[in-house]
């Protein structure tokens, strides 16, 4: 399977990615994850203003076959959510690293990002 992993994201082992710009991390799920899930039909997003810890379940993605928790790869306050996903959850399948993003976090522990997987390491983990 070929995976389109952008160079500017880091992944958690649990298949979420984060792209950090100016201290704000945008979080979504990987191409590999959306493929494994099958068609996404619903996304439950965290509330803006909530503080989330890295590794804690903070969103849910529902596909045709299963409901899966989404774990934030970074800690901080949720500053924005992708409200478009509520009406168009299929964006998670179509564009997992772009229009299919889930939420944004103002990083409270920026050093956490260093512990995440670089694109080639994540590709190795999922056997791409």
């Amino acid at each position: 399977m070929s995976l389109n992993i952008p160079g500017d994201v880091k992944h958690a082992k649990t298949h979420e990615w984060v792209r950090v710009r100016d201290g704000v991390g945008t979080v979504g799920i990987s191409d590999h994850a959306q493929h494994e899930l099958t068609d996404v039909v619903f996304v439950e997003l965290p509330v803006v203003g909530r503080h989330i810890e890295a590794g804690a379940a903070c969103a849910v993605v529902e596909s045709v076959k299963t409901a899966s928790d989404i774990y934030s790869p970074v800690s901080g306050e949720v500053t924005a959510v992708n409200a478009q996903l509520v009406q168009h959850p299929e964006q998670v399948n179509r564009d997992p690293y772009g229009a299919g993003w889930f939420f944004q976090v103002r990083l409270s522990k920026p050093a956490e990002v260093e512990g995440l997987l670089a694109p080639e390491d994540y590709a190795g983990q999922v056997g791409a």
């Binding site: 493929h35 099958t38 068609d39 039909v41 619903f42 439950e44 849910v60 529902e62 045709v64 076959k65 409901a67 509520v86 009406q87 299929e90 399948n93």
Partner: protein
Amino acid sequence: MLKRTPLFAVHQKLGARLIDFGGWEMPVQYSGIHAEHHAVRTAAGLFDISHMGEIVVRGGAAPDFLNHVLTNDIRKLQTRQGQYTLMCNERGGTIDDLYVYQVETEEFLLIVNASRISVDAAWLNRQLAVFPRREDVDLKNLSADFGALALQGPKTAEFIDACFASSSKQNLASSLRKNEIVRRDFLGRPVYVSRTGYTGEDGFEMVAPAEIMPTLWNKVLEVGMPFGLKPAGLGARDTLRTEVCYPLYGHELDEDTTPVEAGLGVFVALGKGDFVGRPVLAEQKARGTTKKLVAFKFAERSAPPRPDYPIWSAGPDGRPIGRVTSGIQSPSLGVGIGLGYVPPEMAAANSLIAVEIRGKQAPATIAPKPLYRRS
């Protein structure tokens, strides 16, 4: 070790995503569950259903034996017709739901659920051992020798005949009426083609010797491709059957649930004489049941319902009244839908209920079956 159908290598080559389905390694999707679902609703889809079982019952006493173990009345069939029926235990609980075809005057073909093949065969053999005219019944489980395909969708009748090389206008699959079955030849081998299915669309099912399955599959795909035919997996099969409220064994049906409770009383022929489970089923038909299968539809966009989620009565004093047995986000209707058991007094159409999803209540309405009807 998971069991594989004769089409396993074909699925791999098509890039299917394979999952464990009741001990079988089966394709859940090829291009995507939604794309395959819509292909079946608007054009055509091809499913591998080779995991299903084939049991053949022959002999002069075969009709009487089958009428003793199955709930529907086999005497209603003429040769080359089939019917939906159920097999029950003495408590009226469902051992399996199946299709039975009268393929010859004294020969019947039973198509049973994959997960129930060995249970069904053992049950039938036990019933046969105490059947008075057992000498006149020959029962064979031929599940390993046969594969099967489901070709489903509004366009299928336009190209099915081209799958079989024959200039003869006789016995055309496209001229079958619903529930009829015909024998066609493919590579010199017999293929049974019936006008049946599990999607709510027009379509056909084919039963063929295992060794010709890959060639038959490829031929059907090639002939159907110009009509929009897509290979379709078990994911789409589940969303399609849930929209039309067809039961799935292990979800709506089990050994502790009767056909009457499942709303399948029309397939329980009390008038045909005694049969296994009849006393309980007759009592339930006359006096009612303690649970009833209902279909429901969500009022708003929400996470989809799933099997085992609790069903609540609506309102401030709502309480748990049952459980979801099947639930999906309906690709055709765009909302969550499902099936579940509730007490009969709560089962009226248009009643308000709620489905508990991760501690929250999603409002829903009990709706008449089927939830989706082809236009």
